[in-house]
Amino acid sequence: MRIRNVIQLHTVNRMQAFGWPLLIMLVSLAIVLVIGGLVINVATSQGAESLTEARQGMNTGMMFNGAIFALLGPLIGFGFTAMGQYFPLALGLGLTRREFATGTVLVFVFNAAFYAVIVTVGKVIEVATGGYGLGVRFFDVVYTGVGEWWQTLIQTFILILGVALVGAAITTAFHRWGQPFLWVFWIALAVVVVGVLAGALLSEGFRRLVVDVAAMGWVPWMVVAAGIGAIGGAIWLALVRRAQAR
Amino acid sequence: MLDDSKPLFVAVAEQIEDGILDGSYPEDAAVPSTNELAAFLRINPATAGKGLGLLVDAGVLIKRRGIGMFVAPGARAALRERRKLAFEDQFIAPLLREAAALGIGPEELANMITKEVAR
């Protein structure tokens, strides 16, 4: 098995694999810090009470700060590019589908672990310094987990890996069945979303159920996320073994 | 460079023969290897090899294992004899046919040739 070559395929361009995501993350973090700095600056001039208020306000409001997606966003693309761009070249260079799939899974796992560690380290620093002394949040947000550090590590890992696998599965299915697959996929997704919305609007019981589900603990949520990732991975591996060059 | 009215390997063999006849490849001298010939003529090495093989079979070239191919002793004279026979077949016969069609007798033809040579 020429796994090393497949890994090389994904990582030969270091800037693309690591440089840009990290750079974009740092820029995004810098912007959050600047905004935080400006807010604190204004609040300081208005007295101590206003300062504490501003800190707490930002700390609560930024729980949902999506700036971290500056990092997660490009990572979501990994699954798509793996199948859309690297797979044809792998076949062209005489690598087998099995070699490609194995190597790519390893790359996904490594990537997920690598970025999960970065996010976790960032979060630990962020929490320890009280949001860099400003009360801002970048790493310590709901998407990557606001609990313990190890929860963030696991959650971010599952998130990145799952998204990569699902993305790869969608791209492979698209290659196989073309536009009709995308229609079916989007229609199915729309039906689910509309169904949930309609249920929430029309039925009190359903509404309660949704709230209960949303409020379920961290562990069940992780199981759900890991489950979705696993299903995506299984579908992808099944499809890629029969995928043809276009 | 190569006569395209014949199969390529025959044309290759004839080119080497031409070289032997005009003294480019003296007797006992080495002729180009298959690969050199192939690269020079931009042809498939197998074709070049087949052309050389033809000459080996005809006794024009001698293969010395590990060294190369060499012009056989007496090859030049033998080639000249063979070409003479071919000359009769390929040039004299059609000449006579055309001459007969035009009503040119053997004597008149000989005169024409003598005159042409003198010119």
């Binding site: 020429r2 361009n13 260079l93 | -």
Partner: protein, 299 residues
């Protein structure tokens, strides 16, 4: 040994039979030409033989095994395709690095020399390369991989005559020093005719011709002379092409033993048929045979 054997190989897509009952045997250590018009099935055949797509029916053996998902076979096989896609972020050097690891017999020094010769900008984004430079990547990979079985599918689109000649010289030179099986698919038939030892012509997914180039020289001949004489010579035989100008006529036909002598005796001029001309005759004759609406080309 035979490098490639296919038996009744077929590939059907929804609307077309891209390949239809192809039975072939290609000897190893030879340069084979795979010729055919656009859409004849050449690329499909090579994609099947390299395991990129799956056959609908039939069987194949490449370097002694089924190529599909076969590391032993595929690591010995290089397929340089005209339509190869590269990741958006890749530079030629990235492709060369990966190819270096993927092919056991890769020669880096040779690759470097080829990069130099073809003036390939290795550090520019592939997206920004010209068509000729894109072809250059394939040529470097195809030659430097030294794969025992190498497919070149239109390897020099966008290259000028000088660069194409450079490719032929490199191919011949390296082939002589490192014998291997080469399958060359191209439209520049006249340019490669002398490089090929064996030729397969595909047409509409079927094998139209499968012969050594030596034999092909005698496969067809063109006779010309007075129209009555040409007609008498043809004597009911179906020529590949037959044109008439006033009282003169020219006919190209598949040759039989004794044709040359008979033609000469009938007072006709004889000229050989080049591979390119034979290709045109065969494919147009085939097209008019299967599709009566297509007019016979008279050029």
């Amino acid at each position: 040994m035979t490098a490639i054997v296919t038996t009744d190989l077929a590939k059907r897509y929804a609307e077309v039979n891209a390949l239809d009952g192809v039975t072939l045997a290609l000897e190893e250590h030879r340069i084979h030409g795979l010729l055919g018009r656009n859409g004849a099935g050449k690329t499909t055949l090579m994609k099947l033989l390299t395991g990129q797509v799956f056959a609908s029916s039939g069987s194949m053996e490449v370097l002694g095994g089924n190529p599909v998902e076969n590391v032993d076979v595929l690591s010995q096989t290089a397929f340089i395709q005209e339509s190869q896609k590269y990741p958006d972020t890749f530079r030629p050097i990235d492709v060369l690095r990966i190819a270096a690891g993927a092919y056991p017999k890769w020669d880096q020094a040779y690759a470097d020399r080829l990069v130099e010769r073809f003036q390939l900008p290795t550090k520019r984004l592939i997206k920004k390369l010209s068509r000729g430079q894109l072809s250059g990547i394939g040529i470097v990979v195809g030659l430097a991989s030294r794969a025992p079985l190498t497919f070149f599918d239109e390897p020099y689109l966008g290259l000028d005559a000088v660069a194409r000649r450079m490719f032929y010289d490199e191919l011949l030179h390296d082939f002589a020093e490192h014998p291997r099986t080469v399958v060359l698919s191209t439209h520049h038939i006249d340019e490669v005719a002398n490089l090929l030892e064996h030729v397969v012509i595909l047409d509409q997914g079927k094998v139209l011709l499968d012969a050594d180039t030596d034999e092909l020289h005698d496969a067809a001949l063109t006779v010309s002379g007075r129209a009555d004489d040409v007609d008498a010579f043809l004597a009911g035989r179906e020529p590949l092409e037959h044109t008439r100008l006033g009282s003169l006529a020219t006919a190209t036909l598949a040759a039989r033993d004794g044709d040359e002598r008979a033609a000469r005796e009938a007072g006709l001029d004889i000229s050989p048929v080049s591979l390119q001309a034979l290709f045109v005759h065969l494919t147009t004759a085939n097209a008019s045979a299967t599709d009566p609406a297509t007019p016979v080309a008279t050029a």
